[in-house]
Symmetry: C2
Subunit: 234 residues, 2 copies
Amino acid sequence: MQIKKFRREHKLFLVEGAKSVLELLNSSYHIDSLFITAAFNDLYSKILVNKVPFEIVSQKDLERLGEFVSNDSALAIVRMGENTELLLEGNEYILALDGISDPGNLGTIIRIADWYGITKIICSENTAEVYNSKVISASMGSFTRVRLYYCNLNEYLKKRKAPIYGAELQGKDIHSVKFTSSGFIVLGSEAAGVSAEIQSLITEKITIPRYGAAESLNVAVAAAIICDNLKRII
Amino acid sequence: MQIKKFRREHKLFLVEGAKSVLELLNSSYHIDSLFITAAFNDLYSKILVNKVPFEIVSQKDLERLGEFVSNDSALAIVRMGENTELLLEGNEYILALDGISDPGNLGTIIRIADWYGITKIICSENTAEVYNSKVISASMGSFTRVRLYYCNLNEYLKKRKAPIYGAELQGKDIHSVKFTSSGFIVLGSEAAGVSAEIQSLITEKITIPRYGAAESLNVAVAAAIICDNLKRII
């Protein structure tokens, strides 16, 4: 807990596991400290050379330092990026997250955005923090390529002129929506969906058609289906 | 732990939380015991009447009995169903899971199947157990409508004549696949994908097109995108 507090005060976050640390080494993030096992060093010494100083430690040490139950590869302590405003530029889509609270869902959404070539996500202030180690872990390295901006989502979206698509129960079937070449996709919280104030800003209500009996879909699953339909048409 | 062992020996499993217990009451599952809070009884007394005997307990008791950190509604101890062989009948699709090990992923896949009207899932023996409480919880009640059959998946699929679609990296773009009216969709394990022996049984290799840089998608997310493409075309 003291380490957690120390990290937050010093604007540092944890990246754990081989896949995520390798992606990190390939990114512009500033690595404050890097701890690796001898086995990881044997496998990736060519990548590590001249990149960043590191210390070889035991698997036990990695597990003590980090939050993974099991980590036999690497752990980095990394400097958080600035919370810089992100704007729609050219033919692109931006995801807008209205209160996604589960870190696993946020990490999965970052990974999905990265798969579909979406590089910007706007988050309401009550969305889970990207630097939470569960978010970083679920993003499978995609946090290095997708930028997030935390702000008052209502104020942010109010100023936008591009179409704002929002997933709601009574919207147009996404299989027949003609998506414009750029815009925003709003995704609501797991428990409450899109908040009333954000709903009023949505210009196109869209719905994933249901063929069976489940009441809803997980929000990350819904994000993926929307992105797949979006890209199919562009 | 003793309770867990007792449950397994007596072929019983746990269902926790209001949403899941309400779906359960609406299903053909045999409820062995039902424990509810007074607040849950106040809300749902009309549904509970004549359904099944229950006992009113405190929230603390529910949390002690179950695996949820917080449960202020209901908990049921339920008899497991038989592991009955499931066959392709008429114009339907069946999901075939080859070693999905994460209970959250399995539960999410059950929920997705239910959304898309798929009612049968065939699981390899090394797939997570459906009666794991994390699977039940992630399925959000959909375990009451989707049946699972655990078997030697290789032996099972070998005997089938319908097309077997499998998600692989070098397959046909799912946006242009013409799915037949019935068949199987194979999904591989989180770590290793589809095993070599099952790969050799796939008749149509399919791929979710990628527009960005993420290396892969979560298996439940991939299942959802495939189901959405499947239903769009049928």
